[in-house]
Subunit: 213 residues, 2 copies
């Protein structure tokens, strides 16, 4: 490894988690934690002053979410490596994070050793994905026709289907005829290879297209 410590910025809205990370990482001499932030916006503001080399970023945060933050950061500072660190494993999140340029996707259930190893890897410009995240990503790459191929209106429709609305209600909500909604739903089912709107709703939930409340 290098002889100068890696400058780290921690971004997470939970105080407890930040403290925990600090605790765990402070046992490792190769790191220097130069700051903390409670959301993506704070992180962005702090970068010029703190000049971190690697950022540990939670994905689910208020104000500015992690994915947006990663995208913005990688645009402004391409050399800065961002490791996504989250407690939930959602297809959509994994894909978005990787697309946004994350140097890693770790779950909070990850042990300290892997965490440390992933940071070193990120600093070297390598990518470390949690095994489960890898699986999701591979699944996605293998079936890119899936959610990817849904058009904008179809995606809108699916979102409403996943909220339990009927075609008539969706039509009213989208301000089109019910016939059009039926057309959209049909092509959704066809494209995704599903056989009912309930399955479509479940798909949308799994993909993180909509939340559960």
């Amino acid at each position: 490894m290098s002889d100068t410590p890696i400058r780290l910025l921690l971004v997470d809205d939970h105080t407890v988690v930040r403290q925990g990370l600090k605790m765990v990482l402070s046992l490792e001499s190769g790191f220097e934690i130069v700051g903390e932030a409670g959301n993506g916006q704070e992180a962005l503001d702090a970068i010029p002053k703190l000049e971190p080399q690697v950022i540990l970023m939670d994905l689910l945060m208020p104000v500015m979410d992690g994915v947006t933050a990663i995208r913005t950061i990688k645009k402004a500072y391409p050399d800065l490596e961002v490791v996504a660190l989250t407690s939930v494993l959602e297809d959509r999140l994994v894909i978005d994070a990787v697309e946004a340029g994350a140097a890693g996707y770790l779950l909070k259930e990850t042990g300290p050793e892997e965490l440390i190893e992933a940071i070193y890897a990120a600093a070297r410009g390598e990518v470390r994905l949690h095994p489960k995240a890898q699986k999701r990503l591979v699944r996605e790459v293998r079936t890119p026709e899936m959610r990817e191929s849904l058009t904008e209106r179809e995606t809108d429709t699916l979102r409403l289907v996943a909220k339990g609305l009927s075609n008539k209600e969706i039509a009213k909500d989208m301000d089109v005829s019910e016939v059009t909604v039926k057309t959209h739903v049909s092509s959704i089912l066809s494209k995704l290879n599903l056989s009912s709107r309930t399955q479509a709703a479940l798909f949308a939930l799994k993909e993180g297209l909509v939340g559960l409340e």
Copy 2:
């Protein structure tokens, strides 16, 4: 407060979270962290030796989940107070935890102050619920006829509906006629005051009746 520190046991499968809690709580002189555990079973085994007064318990853990652990602990040690600490807010979890005898339900997004306050409260035998958890619990108490009133077969049916199966598939799965399934689905919708199987599926997911994969 008392002059002797409160003996605390931390139970969480994430090392990072445990360290974070230790860090945060060590700033408070009123506590003494007597031990840690990575799951419910470990916690249970450690109680006789460590003699904690309050346990901070994560709900989602491998081996033995938090709710089961709470139930078991409260049966064996009624005076031991257990505070549930979790990152997710699920109706079913809140209800189950409270029924199991939890002295509190906190989210990991909770700030250190509230966390500390909740532990003191638990030690005094009081109950502290996160505002969001309170809301869920109240909603539940107000509509006990809901999920509660579903019969066994209806619950089975709902579970399969929430997996995206058609009536015919459910009939095959449950080994009854499709007519019977329709009867069950009808009474489910009627009892839960819903208007489509998709809504029923979403309900089942919200209630934690089934998982999402």
